[in-house]
């Protein structure tokens, strides 16, 4: 059995709309963290959402495989239960359910069985400790009135409690102050290990100082056009995307 998240020649479009992903090829082996960078509008968030099963998009070609098994036919909830997790670029505010209650429901749904209050709170405590965060965030309604940074940090807390096998973090570093950025990195690094793989979508080389990626991919206009090591992120930071765009055109 393949121990990886594989995106194979993935084409996807907005339902009844234009094509956004135009043949993405990408493999994230379990145990590794890969960064995806690229200019605004390249299709990075779309890639994350299509992997997570957003019904607003349809896959027209290609496949997504988790440990060798296609997940295209699965709904977003079933994909989560297979071990996928998407930290949203824009987490949704949901009044009426507390952050902790929601998370417990999600954990139970994922496991398919009751999770004791003790076990649940032990996990929460651990996540809060790593993220150096106050308990008061638990009783507030899910994301309701959270600041931009709090929302991002909360996504990482959810990830830590739900313990996915493959996580996609969509610009979790955007809008964070330097201390919050370090904490988020600490959270991701705490997950790091042989049973965890991640795709880190980012615009900034900065976060890669704290979460050192195994590979960096550059996405332009719905395709991965070049890949490399951490040094690729440095080069992008210095030179911008023009040279990659030229590369894309040449292909």
């Amino acid at each position: 059995m393949a121990n990886e998240l594989e995106i194979r020649n993935l084409h996807a479009r907005i339902v009844d709309g234009e094509a956004i992903l135009k043949g993405v090829n990408l493999v994230v082996p379990k145990g590794q963290i890969h960064a995806v960078m690229g200019p605004n509008g390249a299709g990075k968030s779309t890639l994350g959402k299509v992997i997570a099963g957003d019904p607003g998009y349809e896959v027209t070609q290609g496949d997504i495989l988790v440990d060798g098994e296609s997940i295209l036919e699965l709904g977003p909830d079933e994909r989560a239960r297979k071990g996928l997790f998407l930290a949203f670029q824009y987490p949704v505010e949901v009044p009426g359910v507390s952050n902790a209650n929601f998370l417990r429901l999600a954990l139970q749904a994922k496991r398919g069985e009751e999770v004791s209050v003790q076990e649940f709170y032990a996990k929460l405590q651990k996540a809060l400790e790593t993220l150096e965060w106050d308990e008061s965030i638990l009783t507030r309604y899910l994301n309701d009135g959270f600041s931009g940074g709090e929302k991002k940090r909360n996504e990482i807390m959810h990830m830590m409690v739900l313990e996915p096998i493959y996580a996609i973090l969509d610009e979790t570093d955007s809008g964070l102050d330097i201390d919050a950025l370090k904490l988020v990195a600490k959270g991701v690094n705490a997950m790091r290990g042989p049973n965890f793989g991640a795709l880190l979508i980012t615009h900034y080389q900065r976060i890669l100082n704290y979460i050192v990626p195994d590979a960096v991919h550059v996405m332009i206009d719905g395709r991965i056009v070049t890949s490399g090591g951490p040094e690729l992120a440095m080069k992008l930071e210095e030179q911008g995307y023009d040279w990659v765009k030229e590369l894309a055109l040449a292909n």
């Binding site: 997570a52 099963g53 909830d77 239960r81 949704v92 009426g96």
Partner: protein, 444 residues
Amino acid sequence: MELTTALSRDLVLGLSQSLGEPEWLQNQRLAAWETFVKLPYPTTRTEEWKYTDISEVPFESLALERPTGRKGAIPEAVQARIAQADLAGYAVFVGSDLVHVELPEAYRAQGVIFTGLHEVLKERPELVRENLFKTVNWNDLVGPQARRPENSKIPALNAALFTHGVFLYVPKGVEFSKPIGVFKYLEGGHLSASRTLIVGDVNSQAVYIEEYISPTQVAPSVNTSATEIVLKQGAKVRHAHIQLLGQGFYHFHRQRALLERDAALNDLVVNMGASLSRAEVQSEMLGPGSASEMLGLYFTTGTQHVDHYTLQHHVADHAYSDVLYKGAAKDQSRTVYAGLIKVEQGAQKTDAYQTNRNLLLSEDARADSVPQLEIGANDVKCSHGSSTAPVAPEELFYLMSRGLPRHMAQQILVKGHMADVLTRIPIEPLRQYIESIIEEKVRV
């Protein structure tokens, strides 16, 4: 509709006699009957009934559900509610029979009266006479409704034929904060008619919860209820009408509260059951400083239809009213809300708000909302707003992407939609109960 067979003037007379009612009440019933016979039924051409078609409702072909003298046996569904509700006292009706009523001695010693209307009629007839039909009768229309007398048709039917009722009297200065519960268990298959009369004397305080329960599926049945709330100076009442009748029921509720100086009503309507139901809730701010909070929650599934009408009638100056009705509709169900803020000429410094918001869980569900203002004074603060929107797909996706199956994600969104009403229900067991009903309804 079948032709009239079950109802007649003789039935009204016979009913009144068999209940041992005094002459004045008999005459009132007959007057109501004359009105009922004279008036046409509202149709979809009647402004207030535009979205609700009652032409198929068997008002006149079902047998009237009369008292049969049952005592003692409380249905299991009601027992479960009583166990959960943390009540001060309660009454249980099965059909038209008051099978059980309980009020702690401490309350009775203070002069609180809580029992069947006909029981009070025997002991304190003057209290009933003074207040019955004072707020809901066959001639009580206010505002634009008054131009369309067919709006009195169903209340006239209720006044002529009500078979049972509840009376709550809270004496001057007596306050209690634990709820009194009234459970009406209906087996279905009949025309049922009941009344509630709540009188809060000067500076009194009480909490009253009324619940309609039945088997989940019944033969065609009609239920009409009329609730009269009289609040003397400084009286405060928290009132809830919870309707969870089964499929097959047509339910019609009219409620009207009269608020004297500094009186306060906190009202809640929860309309979740029945095939078709309509709740009309009206508050009359008759004294300065009076305040009426009117909350509504409804959630329909399958082919259910619910209809709500609210009236905030500001007669006195310096009064406050706030309507917040929130609903959700699933499958092919339909919801209707219409509300009016009517501010009379002298009612300066009125503070009146009205909001209705609807969430649609499927493409075939529909919600109609008609907020209205009629303002005759110039120094007032009034606002109204309404909205109807489908569940946001990105919200559903966010919740599902964390592993929640669709029905649970929807549940959370419905509860979230209703959160600002739910958080305004301070009676914890009641709020939990309503939340559990919402959860159950999303699941099926």
